[in-house]
């Protein structure tokens, strides 16, 4: 589903964020991406979201080369992936429902379908009764769950998360992780960047380790055991 082939990313400042990174993530697989801050985790996710382009190497998503995707095709690509951001990226001038409905609205779903899907997604994260609230009035954990609902409402094949438990206590973090595992169980490919070592060690999933832009551990072996 996701395949990095000798990907390097060098920023104009000269910083080499990723050095010849290669790995492959199968469809329906769930993996964690760890490493100290500045190791290149965010850069790797940005490449997958097409917020950045690799300096060299090939990035294949479902067999398609992302390097060849023109700028005008980026929106339709982004509609096929779901992204959970560390800082939620929720809009404070609209309700929880409207925030979650945004990807469907942009993609042009009919209103009846939108309502059904949004409620299903909110129900999935246990926030159905908060749909008319403003995200600002919710707790950090609830906001993150709204962010997750928005990331999965259009049923993406790939779910990316950047430090989804960054600001949450262990109990809430465990809840969020349980949510991600549920999506994986229905076939979504999940890639989570985190430095919460304690949390991921308690879970039996593939763990990839980035150190100074180099993928020091592919994590594939542990998954195969």
């Amino acid at each position: 589903m996701i395949r990095f082939d000798n990907i390097s990313k060098r920023y104009p400042s000269g910083l080499e964020a990723l050095k010849r990174v290669s790995f492959e993530l199968e469809a329906g697989e769930m993996a964690f991406l760890t490493g100290p801050s500045g190791a290149g985790k965010s850069t790797l996710l940005k490449l997958l979201m097409l917020m950045e382009r690799p300096s060299s190497g090939t990035l294949l998503i479902n067999g398609k080369n992302l390097n060849r995707l023109s700028r005008s095709l980026i929106p339709s690509y982004r509609r096929q992936i779901g992204v959970v951001f560390q800082n939620h990226q929720l809009l404070s001038d609209r309700t929880v429902f409207e925030n979650v409905a945004l990807p469907l609205h942009i993609a042009g779903y009919p209103p009846s379908e939108t309502g059904r899907r949004v409620r299903a997604a909110l129900d999935g994260v246990g926030l159905l009764e908060k749909e008319t609230h403003n995200p600002v009035t919710l707790s950090g954990g609830e906001q993150q769950r709204v962010g997750i609902a928005r990331a999965v409402v259009h049923k993406p094949k790939i779910l990316l998360a950047d430090e989804p438990t960054g600001n949450l206590d262990p109990v809430l973090s465990a809840e969020i992780m349980a949510l991600f595992r549920r999506f994986q169980s229905v076939g979504v490919t999940v890639l989570i960047a985190t430095h919460d070592i304690n949390l991921i060690n308690s879970l039996d999933h593939r763990i990839m380790h980035l150190e100074d832009g180099i993928l020091t551990d592919d994590g594939g072996a542990s998954n195969g055991q």
Partner: protein, 336 residues
């Protein structure tokens, strides 16, 4: 390091896991419906946003209105002056003095020649006797004139040119030359200089109004562009979020284009009210003045099509200003 996972590229042979992502496809008719719905929703949210900042919106609209009303009023005034001056021009006559020793046969001959000229609409003959009678009656020197031995006044043809109006002044000049070449003509008097001056003044004013109109339209473009630029800055976060969840450039642009369109349209509507207001205000005085001159002149208003044209122009200028601002600033806002 790479582990047991093969890095082979047998991508296509892998059986994809069944999942609920097959319903990514949205029916075309639904897409079209939601496209229309988004236009409608954007229009309403834009209106709501504008009304939520009434002072800011009103200020912008009034600035646009004044900038649109000024050239419109001047253009209308100029249009009326042109109508008025073309009325004057049609009353222009060429006075042709006949040589004193021309006999009645020569006069008949001259009349024929004058009427044969293509630009001549009508001729009126005034004999020297008639002229003398007229002069006696009008001048008040009647009794003094009795002491003259013979009639000093020449016979006269009043020639009405066929084509009139400021634009045909050059042709009138040609006609004068043609009449001057006729044998029995002594002298020609044509009071055309003031008409030429009026035409030139109208021409210069037209150019000035055009230049001022262009300058003010550029001003409106800049005002709208700046308003849109500020709106884009204040909605930066929102733009980034919608881009991250797959919004196209057109989707992101839409609310700003609507803002520009509505600002331009509202500005033009207020401008048309200013225009009509000043028209009725001045119109009454003009009617009184025209009456004093025993003229049938009536101030011409902008008309229904003129008002509609102004609205359309305002909306178009607004849209253009917004488009320029959006093109300049929206590309720079990308998720980072």
């Amino acid at each position: 390091m790479m582990g047991a996972r093969p890095m082979a590229s047998n991508q296509n042979t892998r059986e994809p896991v069944t999942r609920g992502a097959s319903d990514q496809k949205i029916r075309l008719v639904d897409r079209w419906r939601s496209y229309k719905a988004h236009h409608r929703a954007t229009l309403f949210t834009t209106l709501k946003k504008m009304l939520s900042e009434p002072i800011q919106t009103l200020l912008t609209v009034v600035v646009i209105a004044i900038a649109l009303a000024l050239p419109s009023v001047m253009f209308l005034a100029l249009h009326n002056v042109q109508t008025l001056s073309s009325g004057f021009a049609s009353s222009a006559q060429i006075t042709v003095f006949v040589k004193k020793d021309t006999g009645s046969q020569g006069i008949t001959q001259l009349e024929k020649e004058l009427k044969a000229l293509p630009e001549v609409a009508a001729t009126t003959y005034i004999s020297s006797e008639q002229a003398l009678e007229e002069f006696k009656a009008l001048s008040g020197f009647g009794s003094a004139l009795q002491y003259l031995d013979d009639n000093p006044l020449p016979a006269v043809f009043l020639v009405q040119p066929a084509r009139s109006g400021a634009a045909e002044l050059a042709q009138a000049q040609e006609l004068v030359t043609a009449i001057g070449a006729l044998a029995a003509v002594d002298d020609i008097q044509v009071d055309m200089l003031w008409m030429q001056r009026l035409a030139t003044i109208t021409d210069v004013s037209k150019k000035l109004v055009l230049a001022m109109g262009v300058a003010l339209v550029i001003g409106v473009l800049l005002v709208i562009g700046n308003t849109i630029r500020l709106a884009i800055q204040s909605r930066r976060e929102e733009i980034i979020v919608v881009k991250l969840v797959g919004a196209t450039d057109a989707y992101v642009r839409r609310p700003f284009l609507y803002t520009g369109l509505l600002l331009g349209l509202f500005g033009a509507i207020v401008a048309s009210m200013l225009l009509l207001g000043s028209f009725y205000w001045v119109g009454h005085s003009i009617a009184v003045l025209a009456n004093l001159y025993q003229s049938q002149f009536q101030l011409a208003g902008p008309g229904f099509s003129g008002i509609l044209g102004l609205w359309g122009a305002g909306a178009l200028i607004g849209l253009t200003g917004a488009w320029v601002a959006v093109m300049q600033h929206l590309r720079a806002i990308e998720p980072k």
